[in-house]
């Protein structure tokens, strides 16, 4: 059994969020009845010609700038020729030798807190194909060309990842980034964000790369991880069994959790790429780049660094809260009036109670039933000691289900914390009087009974006694447990 090193590169397809298609004026909205969003250009009618959607170029440039890449002053669309019923022209318009974006990098934080830089070889524009439909059609296949001509940005990484987890971390980071940039909705179920994984293994220390297999069309982070891990094990098995890994395209079957061969290198198409004579080269000048640069939002890494620097958050918390633009915006709206001093409290609540509730009820943060203003109202009551953190959790649940403001719930349910020392002392006295044995035991040295008294007071006050105050007062009343 040798010690193996895994080498992974990803080709991520991000569907660009343009309103119309990359080479026609048809709409790109998802879910329309079949073939209602396919124009004569998309249907490849004789005589029709492609016209480039400038918005797609702008989005590609935006991505390029966000990963510190080179924006090609001249890029060229090429034809990738192959026959398939969902490819109406018999070729896909893509970029081949001269992509619009080249040589970028992206830093990814791994589970162990280490930051790793992944190279981005290139990102190029291309059109998506249609879909073949086989369900519900006897002895026939249907073709839906609504998706044909939808703009894609194919983001190709260097083979820099060394485990399935790294690959997923990278893919998640790209997912975060494209949504930050508002160039892709990131919807993986609808196929707006998917990837092909190139996987190979080699004995550790060997420089030459092993033969790779390409796993096609992975559309969830979980599948990416499982498919890669299956593939790694498969390849090691093959080599250990004295065999050779063959270069091929494989498909991941999520039901069986395995990859299966789709076609070998020998069966691969010769795509006969050549520059598309229907389209002129795309020329991008410095002025255009500067304009696009001016529209770049604060990027996730910048935001995380700012959260750590200005709000004193841990690197981990800052990373989580900047992982999506919406989450970051929510968090910032909560912190805005609470002040930086309470940023950690806000972070804990956003990552804790709020995230759990969102996950539990499968709600997007932008549709949260507790708005940032409402959460800020709740946290303000913790800060000013109106309620304890524990009570606050109950108030939050009520806010989530009833949609009311924290103050209304505190008022209506009488949850206001008791901070009147006299009132708390009164309760303590009553508890001491009612529990003479425990009091005697405590005073004779059973320290642990302190908790018993705290519990009794809390029980009697319905949990509303200010915990800090109670602690101090109780200590004073009970006297030392000498």
């Amino acid at each position: 059994m040798s010690d193996w090193e895994v080498v992974i590169g990803l080709e991520i397809h991000a569907q660009l969020a343009t309103r119309s298609k990359i080479f026609s004026s048809a709409a790109t909205a998802y879910g329309a009845p079949p073939n209602t969003q396919a124009s004569l250009v998309d249907l490849a009618y004789p005589g029709t010609l492609p016209v480039l959607n400038a918005e797609a170029v702008r989005m590609a440039v935006k991505f390029g700038l966000a990963v510190g890449a080179t924006i090609a002053p001249r890029s060229v669309f090429a034809r990738k020729n192959y026959f398939y019923p969902d490819l109406p022209k018999g070729y896909q318009i893509s970029q081949y030798e001269l992509p619009v974006v080249a040589r970028g990098t992206l830093s990814v934080m791994l589970d162990d807190g280490v930051t790793k830089t992944i190279g981005i070889t290139r990102a190029h524009l291309e059109e998506d194909a249609g879909k073949s439909l086989h369900e519900g059609l006897a002895h026939a296949s249907g073709i839906d060309l609504n998706r044909a001509g939808t703009p894609l940005l194919e983001i190709v990484s260097e083979p820099d990842m060394r485990s399935a987890k790294e690959a997923v971390a990278y893919m998640k980071k790209i997912h975060t980034l494209v949504r930050y940039l508002e160039i892709c909705d990131g919807n993986m179920q609808e196929g707006s964000f998917r990837c092909d994984a190139n996987v190979s293994v080699r004995p550790r220390g060997q420089e030459k790369l092993g033969t790779r297999a390409e796993i096609k069309n992975l559309n969830s982070f979980r599948f990416v991880e499982k498919a890669i891990n299956f593939e790694i094990a498969r390849q090691i098995d093959v080599i250990d069994g004295g065999g050779k890994v063959v270069q091929e395209t494989r498909l991941y079957d999520s039901d069986k959790d395995e990859t299966r061969s789709m076609r070998s290198k020998e069966e691969a198409n010769d795509y006969r790429y050549f520059p598309d004579p229907d389209l002129l080269p795309v020329y991008i000048d410095e002025g255009f780049i500067a304009t696009v640069r001016s529209t770049l939002p604060e990027l996730p890494d910048e935001k995380a660094a700012r959260f750590a620097r200005e709000l004193g958050l841990s690197v981990y918390d800052a990373g989580v809260l900047s992982a999506s633009r919406e989450l970051g915006a929510y968090f910032e709206a909560v912190v805005a009036e609470l002040g930086a001093a309470n940023a950690k409290l806000a972070a804990n609540w956003v990552m804790g109670e709020l995230s759990s509730a969102l996950n539990r009820d499968n709600v997007e943060i932008t549709a949260s039933r507790v708005s940032p203003t409402a959460l800020r109202g709740l946290l303000a009551r913790i800060v000013d000691a109106t309620i304890s953190g524990k009570i606050a959790k109950d108030v939050f649940e009520a806010m989530w289900t009833e949609g009311k403001a924290a103050d209304d719930i505190i008022e209506a349910k009488g949850l206001k914390q008791i901070t009147d020392s006299g009132a708390i002392e009164g309760v303590i006295d009553a508890i001491m009087a009612a529990n003479p044995k425990q009091l005697a035991d405590y005073r004779s040295g059973k320290d642990k009974l302190f908790g018993f008294f705290v519990g009794q007071v809390m029980k009697a006050t319905g949990g509303k006694a200010n915990p800090g105050q109670l602690n101090d007062l109780l200590k004073a009343k009970l006297g030392s447990s000498s």
Partner: protein, 484 residues
């Protein structure tokens, strides 16, 4: 007779209400009915729609509207998509294809009040130099029906020569307007690449295809070219440059015009052909032009270069004809591969298949650099040499074809000999230059063409140079016997 009037004269008579557009349409429809059976130039007749369009034009005329093409009939090459009318590209593949939209050329002429009489026969997908590759059978040359009219726009040229319409449209990828114009004794103009929109023109080789005009004279071609030229947002390769008033440019004297004679065009030129060119040049020198010899050393490479580039693009352009969405589909396909193989195998003719195979080969892994890339380099050299030549001269003049019209059937089995027919015309396509052919005499009683090639966007100058020649000569006025 109406069919001998120029477009300008027809427009005048229409404006003066001496004739109506409907009468004009009827006159030409009658000529088509009479002459087309022997020529096979028109493959779709749209008589009813023509009369409707003519009636509409008459209403516009009655309302006082005028226009150089308003109410005047034409025939479109069947490569232009025409809304609601079969658009076959001369192929069985599209025999059942009714276009759901108008090509930009068609739409612009429609807007100008043109009246379409029908669609003209052509080589299948514009691949051919003799109009023998059409699914609808060969077109006969009105000068001698045993001869080809040239191709690929052979139907448009023969129809024009036989006076079946005042003008016709064509496309020119390697000479498909100029060569048939020469072989049928008419004037044919291929504009600068990008001057006329390719939208709706069924693609053969996208980087070479350009729409143009057949007419009896340069003066007749001018308003038609005017109407179809100009930027089209639907064609990314159309050029956004103003279109000059071509008709207004037809008066300029030629004194001082510098004409370049391409050495490569005259080397080995058949003596009778050469004599006609030299006679034409005498006309030009008498008009005050001077001649100078220029050389484009790489021009002899244009035929092999073209026969790499054009099939490469065609092989990809024709992939959309797969039997899935439109066009010919084979009977009862067994599976997807069978659907593709038989639909394409049965739908395409032999010349189209030959070019698809050639094109697929030159783009294949391992051959791409040696063929496609090399051809693109030669193409660049030829373009640069033309550019350098136009620093010295205003336009180039030479023969359009090596020989007059040849016998139907004589070259169809010998593709290379057939391809050499385009030896003088292909250069302008590779460089994207405008070119024009007009009649300049006869060899063996068949018309021969004089070719003018100018720098990019010099259509106005070319038309004027042709017009001045036609003011001093009578060749363009000759009609084939029986069609006068």
């Amino acid at each position: 007779m109406l069919h001998n009037l120029s477009i300008g004269e027809l427009a005048e008579q229409l404006a003066a209400k001496k004739i109506s557009s409907v009468e004009l349409a009827r006159h030409f429809l009658a000529r088509i009915e009479r002459f087309n059976p022997a020529l096979n130039a028109v493959i779709t007749l749209t008589a009813e729609a023509a009369l409707a369009a003519a009636t509409a034009a008459d209403r516009r005329l009655a309302a006082g509207e005028t226009g150089p093409l308003l109410g005047i009939p034409l025939i479109h090459k069947d490569i232009f998509c025409t809304d609601g009318v079969r658009t076959s590209a001369g192929s069985r593949m599209l025999d059942n294809f009714v276009a759901p939209y108008d090509a930009t050329v068609v739409a612009r002429l429609k807007a100008a009040g043109a009246v379409m009489l029908g669609k003209a026969n052509m080589d299948e997908f514009a691949m051919g130099s003799s109009n023998e590759t059409s699914y609808y059978g060969p077109v006969k040359n009105p000068w001698d029906t045993a001869k080809v009219p040239g191709g690929s726009s052979g139907g448009s040229a023969a129809a024009m020569a036989a006076r079946l319409a005042p003008y016709t449209t064509g496309t020119d990828t390697g000479g498909s307007i100029r060569q048939p114009a020469a072989l049928t004794g008419i004037t044919g103009v291929k504009p600068t690449y990008g001057r006329v929109s390719r939208y709706g023109m069924i693609a053969f080789a996208s980087s070479l295809d350009q729409a143009g005009v057949f007419a009896r004279s340069a003066a007749d071609a001018a308003p038609v070219l005017q109407a179809i030229s100009g930027f089209d947002p639907l064609d990314s390769t159309s050029v956004d440059a103003p279109v000059p008033d071509y008709s207004a440019m037809l008066g300029a004297p030629l004194k001082g015009l510098k004409i370049g004679l391409l050495r490569e065009f005259f080397e080995g030129l058949e003596p009778r052909n050469a004599a006609l060119i030299h006679d034409a040049l005498k006309v030009y020198t008498s008009l005050g032009a001077t001649t100078v010899e220029v050389s484009l050393p790489h021009l002899p490479m244009s035929v092999p270069t073209y026969y790499v580039v054009a099939p490469a693009e065609a092989s990809s352009n024709l992939s959309r004809f797969d039997g899935v969405r439109f066009g010919y589909r084979c009977e009862a396909p067994k599976d997807l591969a069978d659907l593709y193989k038989r639909s394409r195998g049965e739908g395409f003719g032999p010349e189209v298949k030959r070019r698809i195979m050639t094109g697929t080969y030159v783009l294949s892994a391992g051959y791409f650099d040696a063929y496609y890339l090399k051809a693109q380099k030669v193409r660049r050299l030829i373009t640069d040499e033309f550019r350098a030549a136009f620093e010295k001269v205003d336009l180039l003049i030479g023969p359009t074809t090596p020989t007059p019209a040849f016998d139907i059937g004589s070259k169809i089995d010998d593709p290379v000999t057939m391809y050499l027919n385009d030896i003088y015309t292909i250069g302008a396509n590779l460089a994207g230059l405008p070119g024009l052919s007009m009649p300049c005499g006869y060899v063996d009683n068949l018309p021969m063409g004089l070719q003018l090639i100018g720098p990019h966007f010099s259509e106005g100058k070319l038309l004027n140079a042709a017009h001045q020649f036609q003011q001093s000569t009578e060749w363009h006025k000759h009609a084939p016997r029986g069609y006068e």
